[in-house]
Symmetry: C2
Subunit: 114 residues, 2 copies
């Protein structure tokens, strides 16, 4: 079963990852916490644009922010990354099930067709 909320979450996660700037930001914040301005300094776009990317990642749950003085430190959430990986594993299992059914069919009755 795919609930509405889990589909919403999957949409948000994959969408967040579907932008190279956001993937790069995620890579950086998984390695260590960065303030939003430290991140913004790395890219050839406005501060506001980078801030929006960070917000997309945050809404998807791929990073969290904590205040540290006047800075907002962003850290990557590896569990969210793993949850995406597990969605892909589930897809692989669907494929394996298909292969298993074909193998069983061939073993039991090579002439049958579906």
């Amino acid at each position: 079963m795919v609930t509405e909320e889990s589909a919403d979450r999957a949409d948000a996660l994959f969408h967040a990852l579907a932008d190279r700037t956001r993937r790069d930001i995620l890579r950086r914040v998984l390695a260590r916490a960065h303030s939003v301005s430290a991140l913004a300094a790395k890219y050839d776009m406005s501060f506001a644009a980078v801030q929006k990317h960070v917000a997309v990642l945050e809404k998807a749950g791929l990073l969290t922010k904590r205040r540290d003085g006047r800075e907002q430190l962003a850290s990557g959430d590896v569990q969210a990354v793993q949850s995406v990986a597990s969605m892909l594993t589930e897809l692989e299992q669907v494929w394996r099930g298909h292969i298993a059914r074909i193998d069983a069919l061939i073993a039991s009755d090579p002439e049958q067709e579906n």
Copy 2:
């Protein structure tokens, strides 16, 4: 290093996965080949809309089509799914490297800061 082409491919893969209808189509075609019309019959939207979703998945390399008479049979490509999974694994490795550095730092010199 992240080449331009690999980033383009990653963009296309994650974008293709960032829509629940496309994820559902992918699930079906990983389990068994479906004609475009067989897929279209499953969703409450026009044939053309489903066809576009199939085209997005195909351009991303997540499925391939082969002609069978007047039908076009779509099959999921599990290798493409695995390639996405490996991108996520790479992100997890970035995170593990960070943790390893912290552990090493604490073990060698608890007072030092970066």
